[in-house]
């Protein structure tokens, strides 16, 4: 039986990857891969616990689940992985981290075609 919703989601995902994505490097330890990612929402976060203010830029990346392959093995994101985005010759490093009570990543659609990965900027 044809699942029209699944097909539609796959079509949308392919369009997003083709027309609204940029190349990023995904790194875990010594392993890394280059893949296309769509930049999702980017917001600022502030933690004021104990009078110590700590701010971070939060950025979500949308990537195709099938593209996340490290060391030849398909994998899923892990807290502490890095996504490196290069813009105008400057590299920006983001770390995969949870946001509030959400974990660091989730599937972006019911068919697990895309991953939504939460990151925080940790430097150039």
């Amino acid at each position: 039986m044809t699942d029209i919703l699944h097909k539609g989601q796959a079509w949308l995902s392919e369009k997003l990857t083709r027309h609204a994505s940029r190349l990023v490097t995904y790194r875990r330890g010594e392993l890394e891969t280059t893949l296309t990612a769509t930049i999702g929402k980017t917001v600022a976060e502030q933690d004021t616990g104990d009078g110590l203010i700590l701010k971070a830029e939060i950025r979500d990346y949308l990537i195709d689940t099938k593209d996340l392959v490290l060391g030849g093995e398909p994998t899923l994101p892990k807290r502490g992985d890095y996504i490196i985005e290069t813009e105008s010759g400057v590299s920006h490093t983001y770390e995969v981290l949870p946001i509030g009570n959400q974990r660091a990543w989730r599937y972006s659609d019911p068919f697990r075609i895309k991953l939504r990965i939460h990151t925080k900027r940790i430097g150039e």
Partner: protein, 142 residues
């Protein structure tokens, strides 16, 4: 100069002159306000918190000055090799002032140390960030 600021500055001076297990450059701040990307190096912040004045004798008051010392560093894995030295440094700083007068302001006598946050679980969970917070109390009679 304000008594509180004098004590805070003296804590900074004593810390920066101390030989500790990790190299420390302390700074006095009113409000520690950092970006996560600035935390890749060890940061020690000295922040005035509170002043309590009470009667000591017929001619003098007792001034208890609370100063926070925050020890912060972003970690990669959070394993013992990375975190133990930071926990040790926090304890070392607490020990460094215990039972002492401030070297650069000898009228101020150590009174109490409270390790208010051994490590912030929220910063750990949300930022992969080690944050430890000591409150030092120094007493001066005047």
């Amino acid at each position: 100069m304000s008594l509180v600021l004098n004590i805070a500055d003296s804590i900074v001076a004593d810390l920066n002159a101390a030989t500790l297990s990790l190299p420390v450059t302390a700074h006095r701040l009113y409000v520690p306000n950092f970006q996560l990307e600035d935390m890749n190096e060890l940061r020690v912040s000295v922040v005035p918190r509170e002043l309590q004045i009470s009667s000591l004798d017929r001619a003098r008051n007792q001034h208890d000055v609370d100063i926070d010392v925050a020890i912060q560093k972003k970690f990669k894995t959070g394993d013992a090799a990375e975190i133990d030295p930071l926990v040790s440094l926090a304890e070392e700083i607490a020990d460094f002032f215990r039972l002492q007068r401030l070297a650069s302001f000898s009228a101020a006598i150590w009174s109490r140390t409270e390790h208010r946050v051994l490590y912030s679980q929220e910063h750990w969970d949300q930022m992969n960030q080690f944050t430890s917070l000591l409150t030092l109390t120094f007493r001066i009679a005047r």
